[in-house]
Symmetry: C2
Amino acid sequence: MTGRECSIANALAVVGERWSLLVLREAMFGVRRFDRFAHNTGASRDILAVRLRTLVAAGVLARQQYSTRPPRFEYVLTESGRALSPVLMGLTEWGDRYVTEGEPPTVWEHECGAELHPATVCAECGGSVEETTLRPIRLGRVPT
Amino acid sequence: MTGRECSIANALAVVGERWSLLVLREAMFGVRRFDRFAHNTGASRDILAVRLRTLVAAGVLARQQYSTRPPRFEYVLTESGRALSPVLMGLTEWGDRYVTEGEPPTVWEHECGAELHPATVCAECGGSVEETTLRPIRLGRVPT
């Protein structure tokens, strides 16, 4: 790995692949089984098997046996996997706004009754997070 | 494209590639020129050239001429590109917490004076966005 030391790069080493993020999307919708992941994402079974192994090894999904004869497994989000929901929500909102033509395919409702549009704020003060309200106080090192 | 109709999938068709997201990270840090993108991301020049073309075609970066003799161009974030910051902040926070060993390589300060930890909230009520406070009211269709 070359380039800047960076948690984005580190995160992408684990989940930075199209099928991985689509598997995690399905897991957030409650999907747990191989065949449904394959059908709902459109991933080939070979690629899906590799991605699931990687996600389990990285602790993002947990593999749980739900039948002993025959042996069968399902995949559930761990705490780490659930913690990716801001990334998936952010991609959804951006895709709805800048890429998808027509109505948003997926809509969530917040418990307040509103259709969900996620906003990113400072956890400390609740103020908005954008270019003008931020400054970097440390940047990851770039190898020379 | 098979699988569920989904703005995450649509977003990933544009920015769902490691080098694309690392280029956008550098653009958020103020980098504009090919050589710095190459150095700071570690991408090969060939791959970088393709990714920049794709990002410009998708309207995420704008290509601007800054010298006529010789002709030279730089790349700046568009509104659509800046709107990806919640995704990049989300990946940073998740990578810091679950992947990177040791101290976070990059730290931002919010204008309130706190070290930035982004939180995702409902834009309408400001309440927390998590599994227990959301329900899907429409899911993208899965082709049968």
